[in-house]
Amino acid sequence: MVPHKDGGANEGHSCVKGRFAFGYASHPDRVLAPMVRDSFADEWREVSWEEAISFTARRLREIQERHGAGSIGAITSSRTTNEEVYAVQKMVRAVFGNNNVDTCARVCHSPTGYGLKQTFGTSAGTQDFKSVAKADVILVIGANPTDGHPVFASRMKRRLRQGAKLIVIDPRRIDLVRSPHIEAAHHLQLAPGTNVAVVNAMAHVVVTEGLVDREFVQERCEDFAEWEAFIAGPEHSPEAVQEITGVPAEEVRAAARLYATGGNGAIYYGLGVTEHSQGSTMVMGMANLAMATGNIGRDGVGVNPLRGQNNVQGACDMGSFPHELPGYRHVSEDGARAVYEQLWGVPIQDEPGLRIPNMFDAAIDGSFRALFVQGEDIAQSDPNTQHVHAALAALDLLVVQDLFVNETAKFAHVLLPGTSFLEKDGTFTNAERRINRVRPVMAPRTGKQEWQIVCEIAQAMGYPMHYDSAAQIMDEIALTTPTFAGVSFAHLDAVGSVQWPCNEAAPDGTPIMHTDGFVRGRGRFVETVYVPTRERSTRKFPLILTTGRILSQYNVGAQTRRTANVAWHPEDLLELHPHDAEVRGITDGDMVALSSRVGRTTLRAVLSERMPVGVCYTTFHHPVTGANVITTDNSDWATNCPEYKVTAVQVALTPEQAAVREERLTRPVATAGE
């Protein structure tokens, strides 16, 4: 597959996943007919669409009648279209009668939503991808674009080769730190969990060394004086925090000076920022830094999340969060609710619903009894697998809409087969807020688009939800969401793509935000106190595990493991510093047991000096490894985004090494689809 050169986001480029890994659409594992069963211990039974939909609707209503309106909910997917996501959140709000809808952004970029809304006024990155070509200093924090965002990484590297300076803040020595023709001016190799201390120290340098862009701050921002007094405190100086962060003070000072004075300073960040107990605080810390130096509101600057899936931005935009209606309007806003109440003809609840981790807790305590999961494998992707499995097993009804019988479907009572992107008709919105059409190249193999199935469930539950086409859903989105008011399939077909806000004030869209003023009026400085995570290394668990992704695989791998890409990454590996390996008698390639206070798994060790001493790293692409057996239920204080990036662990040669090796040799490797 070769992308169109006129594509606004990628301009003809794709990574090894986009280019080669689409054969899963025709993989023999695809489920093409609906299936139901009374208990997840039973065998699946193939049924007609009518029976599956009526079974689902009847069980959902029965559960609500018995346990209350709030006893059911849904999770939307960042792999599905805006129209499919919108339909699910509408089903929850209009038909279920609650706000128990959440999305997989909960476990990745929900702190971005919180932090950027608090400071700038809206939950989105500030730039288009092209903007990096005008950056003079690029600050990459907690992201590994080479593996995680390779197409954007190519743009970034082009700019770096032209002479832009690079600062990397990451516990790992990622490829960007030094690779052919690229070398970071500064690598702040901090201890996991100390992001906020580092960004505060950089801001301290900016404030105390007279590097603040006072004209910008005075014209555009508020609460600066209080923040300035806070951040100037000696406890935030690089010297004061270097023992905590492990980063030499002079290195922090030099990096801060470069970012503040080197021309256009652009921040790009990933899940190494958000997936911490202070993920939201760190997002606000970066926003503070950008505002203080005037690096917001023009080409070449900004604060930009690098997102994990094709439609994370869109799923969030479409009202997937339990506290927000589409367009990031809080459910307590009477005016926003009135728009939907009038159109949908039902009252909308004015209090937040359950987030995904809250759903799990409520399932275990018995007050949450049924869950509809759209295209997400929470049993593999969410932290503390034992807790997740216990919650799923406790449900009276689990409905999974997916391409495959994934790990979550093993606990399900209904499996509604979904469509791949090759069969979808709709829109995706990428990290630069660009709304792009996705057009089907083949008819849905299941006979239905996913939004049609959701509408039919709603109808079977007694609510008249019907659309003739995905375009009609977008028309409703545009009608009800101010930032999408100018969006339609016809407009997208005419112009190719558009970046929201797209409305009367910005008919051609908005490539760069906050140019004249912030969405909230004035940019708000927020005091970001560093609070250490409660997850500490101990004698029993002396190492810190951090998790991430690899180039050839996509998240839990449900799709890419079913393509030839699996040849490049047949198993998850544990990267370990040679010193940590040596003291444990571990050599490269050994099978090791990885354990934390919540669980244990086995995987193969790879010795790597990319890791600092005391820190190890793995990916979570393979269910057989189950990396999330290890991760805990610690989460970001504001959003409950899991703290995937800091888990105290022990690594040891496993006594069952021979058995593990044998198991690995006989482990089935999925064959590629045609």
Binding site: Q278, H323, P357, A362, V529, S635
Partner: protein, 74 residues
């Protein structure tokens, strides 16, 4: 009771409270209460209020005061 065995509403409320601990206590409690009102589902808030009414074991003092503010509707 440690963080592993604490009920989620206690653990999560404490996580929020510690973020505001640098502010004067009454201001911090008001900020925590506002956050809970904006982001917590009512049954979680109810569980927190019940825990607070039952003595608030292991509940951060700021979180405990936030629960009082929520109960009072302020």
């Amino acid at each position: 009771m440690d963080t592993v065995t604490q009920p989620p509403h206690v653990r999560l409320a404490n996580d929020i409270a510690v973020q505001f601990a640098h502010r004067p206590p009454e201001e911090a409690a008001a900020a925590v209460a506002a956050h809970l009102r904006a982001f917590w589902e009512p049954r979680m808030t109810a569980a927190l209020l019940a825990h607070a009414a039952d003595g608030g074991a292991e509940l951060d003092l700021v979180a405990l005061r936030a629960a009082e503010l929520l109960r009072a509707g302020s």
